[in-house]
């Protein structure tokens, strides 16, 4: 079964056409994960936990073991897998509604325990799958189906900054925010994912990468404008960069 030939498509990605909208960030991040898994030669050891959200069908595209989790419970499920299979690479893949709203408790406590898992967090500032509602990360003033007049801080609170929040905990090993705002951003995202996967492989502990991600459909713009929204508007609220490296906090 094992092929040594070089494909343009990563070995860890299936050839099934993706269902994502044009310009969506999910497909890009799937590909990055698949590339990192291939580079590290761990396809047969990798276990992905898919969220409830647009990426629930991630398993159709990933050519390694994948399971679903209930909405928001992905880090608890990942914990349940990793604790009994400590030599496998277990990552959870989650959207902002999944990770920062309904699954906030599981997110924080998995990080606080320092679970030796990797979390890839797709922050697209909206709920995609259910039709563009307000997410915990929706920008102040941003219009969504459930904030038709724009997000109002007085009644809806400001956007939740997950990297900053998790950085208050002592146990995480690596926390980083990147943006899919162009080729350079994609390269950084890939490097960050590789960093947390390697950290897990080496038993260093909890890694968290937040990927600011385009969702042209519900950010209500074209794919090109979506890249700008991610790189300019979102990055203004969610500063890019390293928050935690090697278990040490990085001063901004």
């Amino acid at each position: 079964m094992e092929e040594k030939a070089i494909y343009s498509r990563p070995d860890s990605l299936t050839d099934r056409p993706m269902h994502y909208c044009p310009g969506c960030g999910h497909g890009t991040v799937h590909k990055l994960i698949a590339e990192v898994v291939d580079e590290m030669g761990i396809r047969e050891k990798t276990i992905g936990i898919a969220p409830v959200g647009c990426a629930v069908l991630a398993y159709f595209y990933m050519r390694f073991d994948v399971m679903e989790a209930a909405h928001g419970r992905t880090p608890a499920v990942a914990t349940g897998v990793k604790r009994v299979l400590p030599d496998k690479l277990v990552f959870s893949y989650q959207g902002d509604g999944d990770l920062a709203a309904i699954g906030m408790a599981e997110t924080i406590h998995a990080a606080n325990r320092g679970e030796n898992i990797s979390v890839v967090f797709i922050n697209n500032a909206v709920y995609g799958m259910t039709g563009g509602q307000m997410a915990p990360t929706t920008l102040t003033g941003q219009k969504t189906a459930t904030s038709p007049g724009g997000r109002l801080v007085e009644t809806m609170g400001p956007p939740v900054k997950m990297c900053e929040l998790l950085n208050t905990l002592d146990r995480p090993y690596h926390i980083e925010r990147v943006a899919l705002d162009g080729p350079a951003g994609v390269r950084k995202a890939r490097k960050a994912i590789r960093t947390i996967f390697e950290a897990q492989r080496d038993g260093k502990g909890y890694g968290f990468v937040e990927v600011l991600s385009p969702c042209p459909t519900y950010q209500r713009c074209t794919p090109v404008e979506s890249l700008k929204f991610v790189g300019n508007d979102m990055a203004a609220t969610f500063p890019l960069g390293l928050f935690r490296r090697g278990g040490e906090r990085i001063d901004a």
Binding site: R43, F64, A76, V77, A78, G80, E106, I108, H109
Partner: protein
């Protein structure tokens, strides 16, 4: 024979899980099951197994979900309000066909209720407390010995049928002490789990899911589940009978209520009333056929339960119009006394003559 020891029911469940080869336990504090969580905290890590005090019951059942998907034996326990929180997870376990053991040490409700023993979660347990068409196997011990034995059986049935299994008990059984004989290990090895997600080494990737969006796919899953439930109904009905051979009044009860029913039936016999006891051990599948047979010979049925009348619905469904069915029930953490039940038996006895 295994060792004879004195233990609380909660500890006996814990020791049963340990001896059944439970790989991981996930819990969250709630009375009256705290002894069980503490037992696991003490004994699981010492054996190199996993114990986590989760951040909530929701997290705990989802950790169970992950461990079960990884092909290992997992258990969680809680009491009524916490079991309510686990229902989404139990539905997911049923949908994804994963084996797991859930222990409910029931307390009084609704709401925060109280911490007294209760049997008011019967409907939730046997009718499917979560969403969708599913069942879990429900086992109801009535002694500390059975707390131990049925926990071990729960792991075996969960693996055999790839289904969640609940041990439905209550605060009195959980906290009382009784002598019991511990099972002699080691437990039989779990079956092979070629479906588990444990790294696609030398095989095609496995996928564990309960989402089926393609038209008709979910119905196919449901048809498969219903066939499985039919198989379980065929093979896994369990019950106990006492003095049913010639009985005039049949008491039907499970768990703590069954102990009281047995006590009352013995006193009634001594007083010349021919009482017998039918105790369902599996609440789902419910041993209704045997109950129907007994109903054709008894003159009356008295259901004893610590609820407003939940088990009684399955009793009525089973016996139909054959005999009158009455309830001796207490609610909100109240426990029927032997003398209450006896008085009821006396009244029914004279009424019918």
């Amino acid at each position: 024979m295994g060792d004879r020891v004195l233990m609380t029911g909660n500890d006996a469940v814990g020791e049963g899980a340990v001896r059944a080869g439970c790989d991981a336990y996930y819990g969250y504090p709630i009375t009256p099951q705290n002894e069980l969580t503490a037992y696991m905290a003490l004994h699981m890590p010492a054996k190199g197994r996993v114990f986590i005090q989760a951040e909530s019951e929701v997290a705990a059942i989802n950790m169970v979900f992950g461990t079960a998907a990884a092909g290992k034996r997992a258990m969680t326990s809680s009491s009524s309000p916490g079991i309510s929180l686990k229902q989404e997870g139990i539905s997911f376990l049923a949908g994804a066909e994963l084996p797991a053991v859930i222990v409910n040490v029931q307390r009084g409700g609704p709401g925060l209720g109280n911490i007294s023993p209760s049997q008011a979660d019967y409907f939730q347990a046997v009718k499917g407390g979560g969403h969708g068409d599913y069942h879990q196997i429900v086992l109801a011990p009535d002694s500390v010995q059975e707390m131990h034995d049925l926990t071990i059986l729960a792991f075996e049935l969960a693996d055999r049928y790839r289904t969640p299994v609940m041990v439905l008990t209550d605060g009195r059984l959980g906290q009382m002490m009784e002598p019991l004989v511990l099972s002699e290990g080691p437990a039989p090895a779990p079956p092979d789990k070629p479906w588990a997600i444990n790294g696609a080494a030398g095989r095609e990737p496995n996928l564990i899911r309960s989402l089926y969006l393609v038209e008709g796919e979910l119905e196919q899953l449901n048809i498969r589940l219903q066939k499985k439930y039919a198989r379980i109904s065929e093979s896994e009905k369990r019950w106990e009978e006492r003095d049913t051979g010639d009985c005039d009044i049949l008491l039907v009860a499970y768990g703590t209520s069954a102990r009281i029913a047995k006590g009352a039936a013995a006193e009634a016999r001594a007083a010349g009333i021919r009482a017998g006891v039918f105790r369902p051990v599996s609440l789902w599948p419910f041993p209704g056929e045997r109950l129907r047979e007994l109903a054709s010979q008894a003159r009356r049925i008295l259901v004893v339960e610590m609820s407003a009348g939940q088990l009684i619905e399955d009793v009525r469904l089973s016996v139909g119009e054959r005999v009158p069915v009455d309830l001796e029930g207490r609610m909100g953490g109240g426990i029927p006394s032997v003398s209450d039940v006896l008085a009821r038996l006396r009244a029914l006895d004279t009424e019918g003559r």
